[in-house]
């Protein structure tokens, strides 16, 4: 009986498994076509899904028959693909992989914001495009469409695999990925192949959006976050194998479905009466980590013509003097501004701290970590639970929270010793999702759905929480006392991060960022420097989490969601990921911050308009001002902020290789000494 039930649930998981697999195919297509690790594939599927829903349900006043709606939706996805290619992939062709990945994060953010603005964030039911019968298999009755979905995606997978192996297009794509320069010399146009692959990716995502109609209602989140299991599947396929990706996606879907069944069993761990939440996200994380460790090493890298790197991290000239100018202004503003603006300023201060943590880990150390917000959440939840469970308040709870975040950050740093920048981004994205669902949403050690209370901070009986009685000139809550508290903390953190850049530890981080082999040869212990950097960055993130929990007075899982983590990275890339001003100004323009409140108050623009704009802005700034606006303002006097590609006529070894993994990277070139012409 049990085996039969497990089997039934596994088959029921075919549907979502097919969607994971389909989204994974999109990731593979993007990577093969242009070397982009495309985190926006799920978002593109979501856009197509909304298109189908709108056409099929008459959202725009005209209701189309299902077949026509399907055709129109696929056309729409082709248009999306062309736009994605021309607007994102092509302008960023010469950018480092990390910049490409951040650009796709921007697209994800824009797509999501656009949908929320247009249709709101509630889910809508939609007609299925598949027949709705049932079939009995080994005595188990299951709906048809799960099997249909798996079969359709399988057909697509096989077509793609065959096409890449045997057609000229597939051959050309492989050639262009292998060595762009040679492919061009042979008369192939890498641009055309890139376009072809991107359109194929968009078509596949259109199909995923359509198929999803059978098992999901359309909403702006579900399909977007399918990217996480899809990435796990694609990693198993080394970002290039269609069939492996398909199988892995299907297996993940089936395993999640079986977990739902197991969740109903009496022995399954429970939390507040329900089965333990987040186990499936944890499963995806484990799959992804396994895939990254055992498969990703063999992901073929691309033979792009130029590899550009992260923008330069300028050395701060006089951080104290800069602070002496800006801090008093902010302090007076805290006191004088009306409460709405004051709240915006406080939020800006708090998120600036989390962005400074990204400045350390990405700007200085060169590792893109999307788990910083999750680490902030760890600290925040500890502050809440230390109080409710043990009665520990400020400052001890805050200190424990920050230290715990730092320790966990070092823990997350260990995988980063093995995986490179872009893959780390993928793993940490999954970690953020898993932290949110498994820890923060958990009723016992997280916040459940209601939120966990956080006491106002006070020292020696003097409270300086948001509800302190001092209200300043602007009046209302949050109290300027809390604002000043946040401002002081931000100032201290910012000065530390600036000093870090000037210290020898910071120089070692940048040396590691630039070239791990040469750093090791210069006596830098690459492993320790990385772990220290992760620890420092995580501690800073923890500070942000503590302040966030104090500012809300209670803490919920949704404050630390993966989508917010993604948005933070996009914002700080616009202002500058490599400098302290970049981090701080990123906080100023961040959603919910000072600038966003001004937009709302003066123009009635919701935060989602800002998110929508940021997606576009991040692509634009990556192309035109990669060091970021604020970094440019503060340090832009020098003529070249971006390290130019080496002019070494003999070509350059790939910089930043991991120590000890490639043996002799290059054979000696010219045999210079004796080219003897025999005198006659």
């Amino acid at each position: 009986m049990l085996a039969e039930q497990i089997f039934a649930y596994a088959i029921l998981g075919l549907g979502s498994g097919a969607l994971f697999a389909g989204t994974g195919l999109g990731v593979v297509l993007s990577y093969r076509g242009s070397g982009v690790i495309n985190l926006a594939t799920g978002a593109i599927a979501m856009l197509s899904g909304y298109c189908y829903w709108a056409l099929a349900t008459g959202e725009f006043g005209v209701t189309f028959a299902t077949p026509l709606a399907v055709v129109l939706t696929l056309l729409f996805s082709v248009v999306l693909g062309v736009a994605f290619e021309l607007g994102v992939v092509r302008p960023l062709r010469r950018q480092p992989p990390l910049a490409k990945l951040v650009a796709t994060l921007g697209v994800l953010l824009s797509a999501q914001a656009a949908i929320v603005l247009a249709f709101g964030d509630t889910a809508h039911p939609q007609p299925s495009i598949l027949p709705g019968g049932v079939v009995t298999l080994f005595g188990v009755t299951i709906p048809d469409y799960d099997i249909w979905m798996a079969a359709i995606v399988l057909a697509v997978t096989l077509l793609l695999a065959a096409g890449y192996r045997w057609t000229r297009f597939g051959l050309g794509t492989r050639a262009a990925a292998e060595n762009e320069a040679y492919a061009t010399l042979f008369g192939l146009s890498p641009n055309r192949y890139s376009m072809g692959n991107t359109v194929l990716m968009a078509l596949a995502m259109g199909l995923v959006g359509l198929l999803a109609a059978s098992i999901n209602e359309v909403d702006p989140i579900t399909l977007v976050l399918y990217i996480v299991p899809a990435l796990a599947a694609a990693m198993f396929g080394r970002l290039t194998g269609f069939t492996t990706t398909y199988v892995a996606g299907l297996v993940i879907g089936m395993a999640e479905s079986v977990l739902v069944f197991l969740g109903g069993q009496s022995w399954f761990p429970t939390s507040n009466g329900g089965p333990l939440p987040g186990v499936d996200e944890l499963l995806v994380l484990v799959v992804l980590v396994v895939a990254t460790f055992f498969r990703a090493g063999k992901i073929p890298s691309r033979g792009d013509i130029v590899e550009r790197r992260l923008p330069r991290a300028p050395r701060p000239v006089a951080p104290l003097r800069t602070a002496a100018i800006f801090v008093p202004i902010a302090a007076v503003a805290m006191w004088a501004l009306p409460f709405g603006f004051r709240e915006g300023l406080i939020t800006s201060c708090i998120f600036a701290i989390s962005l400074l943590s990204l400045v350390v880990v990405t700007g200085y150390l060169g590792q893109l970590s999307l788990v910083q917000l999750g680490l902030a959440g760890v600290a925040g939840f500890l502050v809440s639970h230390l109080f409710t469970n043990f009665g520990i308040g400020f400052p001890w709870a805050a200190i424990v929270g920050v230290l715990a975040a730092a320790a966990l950050g070092v823990g997350f740093g260990f995988p980063a010793l093995r995986v490179r920048g872009v893959q780390l981004a993928v793993v940490t994205l999954a970690a953020t999702v898993a932290l949110e669902t498994f820890w923060f949403s958990n009723g016992t050690w997280g916040a459940g759905v209601l939120g966990a209370p956080v006491p106002a901070p006070s020292l020696f009986g003097f409270s300086f929480g948001t509800n302190a009685s001092f209200h300043g000139l602007g009046g209302g809550e949050p109290s300027p006392l809390f604002g000043w508290f946040c401002l002081i903390v931000l100032t201290v953190v910012a000065l530390l991060v600036a000093n870090l850049r000037r210290s020898r530890l910071g120089q070692q981080m940048l040396a590691v960022r630039a070239n791990e082999r040469a750093a090791a040869a210069s006596g830098v212990n690459v492993r320790n420097v990385k772990l220290t950097g992760f620890g420092i960055a995580a501690g800073i993130a923890g500070v942000c989490g503590v302040l966030l929990s104090y500012s809300y007075g209670s803490i919920t899982a949704s404050s630390f969601s993966a989508l917010i983590a993604v948005a933070l990275v996009a914002f700080v890339y616009i202002t500058g990921i490599t400098s302290v001003p970049g981090g701080i100004f990123g906080g100023v323009i961040y959603v919910g911050g000072l600038f966003a409140y001004a937009l709302l108050d003066w123009f009635g623009l919701q935060g989602n308009w800002l998110n929508l704009a940021v997606g576009f802005l991040v692509v634009m700034s990556l192309v035109s001002r990669p060091e970021g606006g604020a970094t440019f303002l503060f340090y832009g006097k020098r003529p070249s902020l971006w390290p130019r590609a080496s002019k070494d006529p003999q070509g350059k070894m790939p910089a930043g290789g991991v120590v000890n993994d490639e043996g002799e990277q290059q054979m000696e070139r010219s045999l210079a000494p004796v080219e003897v012409e025999v005198p006659s």
Binding site: S503, Q508, A521, S522, V524, V526, P643, E668, P673, P679
Partner: protein
């Protein structure tokens, strides 16, 4: 006196390819030793093996201390410094900072002081000194990418010197330099070695190597085929064969036209 570097039986394999077989090499105190060989002979692999960047068997002793089981950064701490054929500067740091990274390990308290109190790192004066040694004053605040190829090469050497090493390994420092630059480099290297730093020099510029080295080793297909003074190496039949692609029997040292031409090249270099 213990040798600055004593490598015994160094072998490296990449899969089925044996890149180095049983190579013995020693660098005595105060000596400038050359390592030459045709393309693919394994010279860079040898440097990688000594510095710990490839898996190698054999024994490596630095001033008598066995270091073959240590990771690269530990070898560096013990006084082993190298440059790279492809330069490999830290492109995100200024020249001064490049040197500062190599100039010493920050201790925990000093890191703390630098980050919390904003104290400036102390490696700066040392950097100035080393730059002076290579006539590189005035570029301390430049970014490596703004420098010419020749300058970048020199900065690479300066960075290796900044760690106050006890042995210097130079991998093709003259590649890409013109004749004048190469001659300048030779003079500077001699000055550095005479100042007491034993050095192993790998280069394709025969003029440079034959002109300034005290002793020369010759590698071919991963095996040591000759060792001796520049004069001895220049006349060694196996060396001529390796470079000119003829078997030893065909080449009569000093007699054949080819040999004469080769000797002329070497002679010209020696006059520098």
């Amino acid at each position: 006196m213990t040798a600055a570097l004593e490598a015994v039986g160094i072998s490296v394999s990449f899969g089925a390819v044996r890149a180095l077989q049983d190579v013995d090499l020693a660098v005595d105190q105060g000596k400038l030793v050359g390592l030459i060989g045709p393309n693919g002979a394994g010279k860079t692999t040898f440097v990688d093996a000594i510095t710990g960047f490839v898996q190698a068997s054999g024994s490596v002793r630095l001033e008598g201390r066995e270091i073959s089981s240590l990771p690269p950064h530990r070898r560096s701490h013990l006084g082993l410094a190298r440059t790279w054929q492809t330069i490999e500067l830290f492109d995100d740091l200024t020249v001064r900072e490049n040197l500062a990274v190599a100039g010493g390990r920050p201790s925990l308290p000093s890191s703390f002081a630098e980050i919390v109190f904003g104290r400036q790192p102390r490696a700066e004066r040392l950097a100035e000194e080393v730059l002076g040694l290579l006539d590189l004053e005035g570029i301390a605040e430049e970014m490596p990418s703004d420098l010419s190829q020749g300058r970048r090469k020199l900065v690479g050497i300066a960075r290796a010197l900044a760690g106050k090493p006890s042995l210097l390994l130079l991998d093709e420092p003259a590649a890409g330099l013109d004749t004048n630059e190469s001659r300048d480099l030779g003079r500077r290297l001699r000055r550095i070695v005479d100042g007491g730093l034993p050095t192993l020099l790998i280069d394709h510029d025969m003029g440079l190597v034959l002109g300034i080295c005290d002793e020369i080793y010759v590698l071919d297909f991963g095996k040591l085929i000759a060792r001796g003074t520049p004069e001895e190496v220049r006349r060694h039949p196996d060396v001529l064969a390796a470079y000119l692609g003829k078997s030893a029997a065909e080449v009569e040292p000093g007699a054949s036209k080819v040999g004469a031409a080769w000797a002329a090249v070497a002679e010209g270099a020696a006059e520098q």
